[in-house]
């Protein structure tokens, strides 16, 4: 096995695992902003309970997700030093903006939000969550600016064999950016909404005493999913036009592809310029899942008079559908990223020039190490989420009021 293949495999593994966390983070934070704001305006205690219970799941997922994001960020330098060398002047900028203006603030706000429940005024506490959500969206946006540039490089010129930035505005209006960003956000909302609906369905199936709480969660989750899935499908299909035009090799044959392959062969020498079929097979399945979720949501009218809960079997449908959004987001990224092969930057920098000149043994060690570490994190995340979700909402540790006595040693209240 050569270094390039191992580096690609590592990128696929870390990116996929990372995005499983990202989808839940982006989806849940949006719902949390909704419930905490509703609580702030109406003053109803149920919203505070909703915020604490779902916030708990959100925080577990967020903190473990950071670890995967760190590996993602360092991976560019560790495994893809050629990418930094040839196109870093352009590609590095959106990622730098993402870390400095979005992620740094997001984590700082979240730390204060977690520990600030009974210490800060309610308005300030709510503003912190808004800050977390807005910076999370900004983060997703800048990462997508970077990714869109890899898909379709714009706003640069090549001097001395290195890309230099000429037009930052062009990066922001990249035709492969807008719909894809909308698609990612909608996919995250579907994932977050489905998670909320499925956990609620579980409790309603088990007839947990907290009926009103989970009924409300189910409604919020399902309605969010219903709206988001329409956007998801819309943004998804909208991408076929620009992508087919700008990346003719991505979705199979046609004269455009043949012409482009001939052009590349003339420019870069003979080679295999067609991506593996894997990407398109995955895309088919993803579309199938999207459509399945869309038709599955025909059960939403059953929310009327709680028929959905009274009939019970729709609850099972909601619960069993939970894995599908996760499978779909991975397949979607595979289609976008594997479909870019053999290019690190489409039509500009082939992957073999982008990979770091390190030995295969080192790359294999790093692949095994990081994949095991991040894979374990993903599994641990799911076990923890499932346990905390199953435990119910009677007393989550997040936002628990401090004990009235003032003994000097804080006891472990989280158990």
């Amino acid at each position: 096995m050569d270094t390039l293949f191992l580096a690609r495999l590592q990128f696929a593994a870390t990116t996929s695992i990372h995005f499983l966390f990202v989808a839940v983070t982006l989806g849940l934070v949006t719902l949390l902003v909704g419930v905490q704001t509703a609580g702030f305006i109406t003053g109803k205690p149920v919203y505070e309970r909703l915020t604490r219970f779902w916030g708990q799941l959100y925080v577990i997922n967020y903190v473990l997700g950071i670890a995967t994001g760190l590996v993602m960020e360092f991976q560019f330098g560790l495994n893809w030093s050629g990418l930094s060398r040839y196109v870093g002047n352009v590609f590095g900028a959106p990622l730098a903006v993402e870390t400095l203006l979005a992620f740094v603030l997001e984590s700082t706000f979240l730390g204060m939000w977690i520990f600030g429940w009974h210490q800060l005024r309610k308005g300030v506490h709510l503003a912190l969550l808004w800050g977390v959500a807005l910076t999370a969206y900004a983060s997703a946006f800048w990462v997508m600016v970077g990714n869109a540039w890899l898909q379709h490089p714009v706003g640069y010129e090549i001097r001395d064999g290195v890309a230099h930035l000429t037009d930052f505005g062009a990066m922001l209006t990249n035709p492969t950016l807008g719909f894809a960003f909308g698609h990612v956000i909608a996919a995250s909302l579907v994932t977050g909404g489905m998670l909320m609906a499925a956990v609620s369905a579980y409790h309603l199936i088990r007839r947990t005493p907290d009926f009103a709480f989970f009924r409300k969660s189910l409604r919020i989750g399902l309605l969010t999913t219903a709206v988001a899935v329409v956007l998801l499908i819309g943004f998804g299909f909208a991408q076929f036009g620009p992508t087919g035009e700008l990346q003719p090799t991505k979705f199979g044959g046609g004269p455009d592809r043949d012409a482009l392959v001939a052009e590349w062969t003339a420019k870069f020498g003979p080679g295999d310029y067609v991506p593996p079929t894997l990407s398109n097979v995955g895309l088919g399945f993803m579309i199938l899942i999207g459509m399945g979720l869309f038709f599955g949501l025909l059960i939403v009218p059953l929310l009327w008079r709680d028929w959905l809960i009274r009939l019970r079997f729709p609850l099972w449908l909601v619960l069993l559908a939970l894995p599908f959004p996760f499978v779909a987001v991975i397949l979607g990224w595979i289609a976008r990223e594997v479909g870019r092969q053999p290019w690190a930057v489409y039509g500009l920098l082939p992957v073999e020039k982008a990979v770091s000149p390190v030995g295969a043994g080192l790359m294999l060690t790093s692949l095994i190490g990081f994949t095991l570490l991040l894979g374990t994190l993903a599994v641990t995340n799911w076990v923890l989420l499932a346990r905390h979700a199953a435990r119910g909402a009677h007393d989550p540790a997040l936002g628990r009021p401090p004990a009235p006595d003032t003994d000097t040693r804080p006891q472990p209240v989280f158990a």
């Binding site: 760190l70 930094s84 060398r85 870093g88 400095l100 700082t108 600030g116 210490q119 991040l374 006891q411």
Partner: protein, 335 residues
């Protein structure tokens, strides 16, 4: 413009070592055979700052990626094992701290605490090895490939890594004297005082090995700085010890923080204008200007990012202010 960004990168990295340093220091101290209550109290003291500390690593890496893309690629891939170890450590600490309070069983908690300890050791050794590796240069060729990873396994790099571990432990203990309830703080103050001589010895060994190493002498462009700054570091540690003796936690913490920031200044200034020094081909060395992004990128980032750096610092300061003072029974517990 490169200089501004290089200074900013140094600032972020030093801030990370100072703040992340006490995260890992507190992590190391979980190994102190302490009772569950003591570990609980230590993590509660760390609590609100934990998420905000690690962001500086991400900020430093982001600055590297945006403003020094060439340097980023060659630095990280050239010191692959050190970066890999440090990152694995950071991941273990981040996950371990979050996970340790989730299971109900005490044994599982002890298990996760061990993960945190191991992660803290790895992170401190890894970043130390990276700084040491920078000071001694690497076998970088003109075609930008580096010969293997053997260049990292030298006594000097090992000594710097161990010195970083000792400094981080001192930093963690000193941070706890600042945050724990008065009773707990006193015993931690004694621990910190006992750790200072260890750190002094480690720094001295690293300095002597550096002076004896041909590669370090060849890489360093400003020997005066390379000797003066370790002396300052020693002075900071002695000051910390004196302050700890008088229970002046604030002064002690300032001094140990300076001790963690100084190595970054040392590496930056001693090697300037170079940053990656090749031990095999002098023309292959990378200067800060070579490693930087081109003019338009730096000025774009300057317009976008620099005006907001005060806001970043401001929100962090807000976090420190809101959660200032010692923890008590009413301190929020989450980790």
């Amino acid at each position: 413009m490169e200089l501004v960004w290089y200074a900013l990168f140094g600032l972020f990295l030093a801030t990370y070592l100072v703040l992340g340093g006490y995260d890992y220091g507190v992590g190391l101290l979980l190994a102190r055979g302490a009772t569950e209550e003591r570990r609980r109290a230590a993590l509660t003291a760390l609590g609100p700052f934990f998420l905000g500390n690690e962001v500086w690593l991400v900020a430093a890496a982001g600055t590297l990626l945006g403003a020094f893309p060439t340097l980023e690629g060659e630095l990280l891939s050239g010191f692959y094992p050190a970066v890999f170890g440090a990152l694995a450590g950071v991941v273990l600490v981040t996950a371990g701290v979050q996970l340790r309070s989730r299971p109900r069983a005490g044994s599982a908690r002890t298990g996760w605490d061990r993960v945190v300890v191991a992660g803290s050791v790895l992170a401190a050794l890894g970043w130390g090895a990276l700084l040491g590796g920078l000071l001694q240069g690497l076998p970088l060729h003109a075609d930008r490939h580096v010969d293997g990873v053997g260049h990292l396994f030298t006594p000097f790099v090992a000594a710097v890594a161990l010195a970083m571990l000792a400094l981080v432990a001192v930093q963690g203990a000193t941070f706890l004297t600042l945050r724990l309830p008065a009773a707990g703080a006193a015993s931690l103050g004694r621990v910190a005082r006992r750790l200072v001589p260890v750190a002094l010895a480690a720094v001295a060994v690293a300095t002597v090995l550096g002076l004896l190493s041909d590669r370090v002498r060849a890489a360093v462009a400003r020997p005066a700085v390379a000797v003066l700054l370790p002396l300052l570091l020693v002075a900071a540690l002695l000051m910390a010890r004196a302050a700890l003796g008088r229970a002046r936690s604030g002064v002690a913490f300032t001094a140990t923080s300076a001790a963690l920031a100084l190595p970054v200044v040392l590496v930056g200034v001693a090697l300037w204008p170079r940053v990656l020094v090749s031990t095999v081909d002098p023309t292959a060395s990378l200067t800060v200007a070579d490693g930087a992004a081109s003019g338009p990128t730096l000025s774009l980032l300057g317009w976008l990012v620099l005006p907001l750096v005060p806001a970043l610092l401001g929100f962090q300061a807000m976090c420190w202010w809101v959660f200032r003072g010692r923890t008590d029974g009413r301190a929020p517990v989450y980790w």
